[in-house]
Symmetry: C2
Subunit: 363 residues, 2 copies
């Protein structure tokens, strides 16, 4: 652990964040859910989508860019589909509301698919897809996001990093949990390299002329991220296509914003983000035990596949995150001092006890 | 056009291929469908999945590795889901049978999702997803395939190039048609480079030690393809994850083969390939005119996005293929002389008139 980090107990941190949201007028249950999503991101090692974003949430709620008492409603419905209006609520609240109804509907029809409009940044996509696991269902969650990626042969930020998450239960093995942006890296990775003055991989981003760049400042200030695959020669058009699919089913199909019109959580605008959720009941297709046994076999086949020189392990998606979560529940979440200070500032402003953060701060 | 190619009329070629399948005992309607799929691939420029494969199909049918009179049946069904047993029929027949029923079911419930077991190589995935377009639906088709790709940090062919196709209707613009393997390139591209003794891109494949290689022969003979994204640093774990998702919903969920057990169409074995199809009725979510108008806007936004230096066009997925199809319907399908000879050999063996191929052959 780096010396400028402190370890914070996950439950204390969750309670703190929940209280912050309550102080902002978010109903208790919703405050807990939102806090839980942010702490889950920290636990799983996706810090970019965790409590480091709390000041941003506070800003947006205080400035009424997010509605703390949304009247989430189903606009159109069939036995297996829903169009949901999130009424500009917190993405987490809208997301959980919709995913849980999706799971309920899939229980009777085998599958349910929902699109959502008028929502906000919902944190990590896996938070929703994983809710299907304990119901023995496959969960899917997608969302569009503010433009950061250049289409193949383009140079401007035109489409989001639009993530794809798919969670699948297994038997004796841990569930398969894919949660990936459709860009190679998030903008945050470029920013970190810029701060540390480290060059970036030439496939990650383009400069203002649309040429690959290894200069993180150029990429961050005036460039754009490259889609998964990088340039055309290594399949970047495929990542661009996947990002477009996510935008279509999350944004266009729901009537939310899409492409360049999606609001950024870092700007003083309403986001009108669109999401997509689906739940697939495995038992509509196969007996559960057969499915789980085959999932175990697939997972073991992949893990036992011969390793490349210098490698000693092949990972299944979600595996690294499950191990990290276990470790961080036991040993605490590492929080960089700069972020701890941000959290303390938020707490002090809103009158929420921050001693659990202070007492561990290095003097 | 290269000088060792001839131009063949698409309808003549389709009729020829259909007659070949009829001679092999495939019922007329099925023979036409299979031929249509192969010609569609040639028209769209995906020659690797077109009539160049005909000798392989003939071999498999003659050797009873494919069942020409399958009793395709629904094993499990709910209003929005199906599990289909393809009875080892031609992938095209099983695919069309299932996709068309999916579309029919989606008409009444908003969405239908089907998984298929006991099937065979089905040609281009877009052939099925595109069937949804004229019904104003979004079509999805996925399939697993024989192991060719190494998982991230692995070195052995463990998982397929498992393609993803999503087709979405637009208004005045052409439909969006994504059809992509989850590897960077197909093995065929490596083989072509090997034949031409041209180095391959270092992200396309690994050698027998799992190290990136630019040597196409090494990659082809004893290496493995890299998943979309290439090595870990440029997001290869994401392509590996997508390939796994396709295998799960096509193979594991249906009870078909998966990972290393999927049969290759180039080997003397039953394939037991698994497919996944879905149809989403747009009108279950939004009025059709609104959706199509927003699709047009999304497409124009992407196409009008500023171009990278040296580029003058940004493409929408499917656009290149629509233009190629139009050109090839008008001017004929270019067929390499070596492949024309293969087709003539097939025709002569089965007593099918091949004069339309011969008369255009260069002397």
């Amino acid at each position: 652990m780096s010396t400028d980090q402190i370890r914070v107990n996950a439950e204390e941190l969750r309670a703190f964040v929940a209280t912050v949201f309550e102080k902002l007028g978010v109903p208790s249950k919703d405050a807990f859910t939102t806090a839980d999503s942010l702490i889950k991101a920290d636990l799983r090692g996706i810090e970019s989508h965790g409590t480091s974003r709390l000041p941003r949430y506070v800003y947006r709620v205080e400035n009424k860019l997010i509605n703390t008492s949304p009247r989430i409603k189903i606009v159109r419905e069939s036995p297996s589909t829903m169009l949901v209006d999130g009424d500009n609520g917190l993405g987490q609240i809208v997301g959980v509301w919709t995913m849980d109804r999706c799971i309920e509907k899939a229980r009777s029809t085998g599958i349910c698919m929902a699109t959502v409009k008028n929502s906000n940044h919902f944190g990590i996509a896996a938070y929703y897809s994983m809710r299907a696991l304990k119901h023995n269902m496959i969960g899917i969650s997608l969302t569009n996001s503010q433009p950061l990626v250049a289409p193949t042969f383009g140079k401007q930020r035109t489409i989001g990093t639009n993530p794809i998450s798919v969670s699948v239960p297994a038997g004796r093995e841990k569930p398969f949990v894919l949660d990936m942006a459709t860009s190679i890296v998030p903008l945050g990775t470029i920013s970190v390299h810029a701060k540390l003055k480290q060059p970036i991989n030439e496939n990650w981003a383009v400069n203002k002329d649309g040429a690959p760049t290894t200069n993180p400042e150029e990429a961050e200030k005036e460039g754009a991220l490259m889609p998964l695959g990088g340039p055309r020669i290594t399949g970047g058009h495929k990542g661009y296509g996947l990002s477009t699919v996510v935008d279509i089913v999350s944004g266009v199909l729901s009537g939310a914003s899409f492409a360049v019109t999606v609001g950024s959580p870092f700007e003083h605008t309403i986001s009108n983000i669109g999401h997509f959720f689906a739940a697939i009941d495995i038992q509509a297709f196969r007996p559960l035990d057969e499915f789980k046994s085959d999932m175990d076999e697939l997972i073991r086949t992949l893990k036992n596949s011969p390793k490349a020189a210098g490698q000693n392990r092949i990972y299944i998606h979600g595996e690294i995150e499950f191990e990290m979560e276990k470790n961080r529940i036991e040993h605490g979440i590492p929080v960089h001092e700069a972020f701890a200070k941000d959290l303390i500032d938020v707490g002090k402003k809103l009158g929420v006890d921050t001693r659990f953060l202070e007492k561990k701060e290095k003097k």
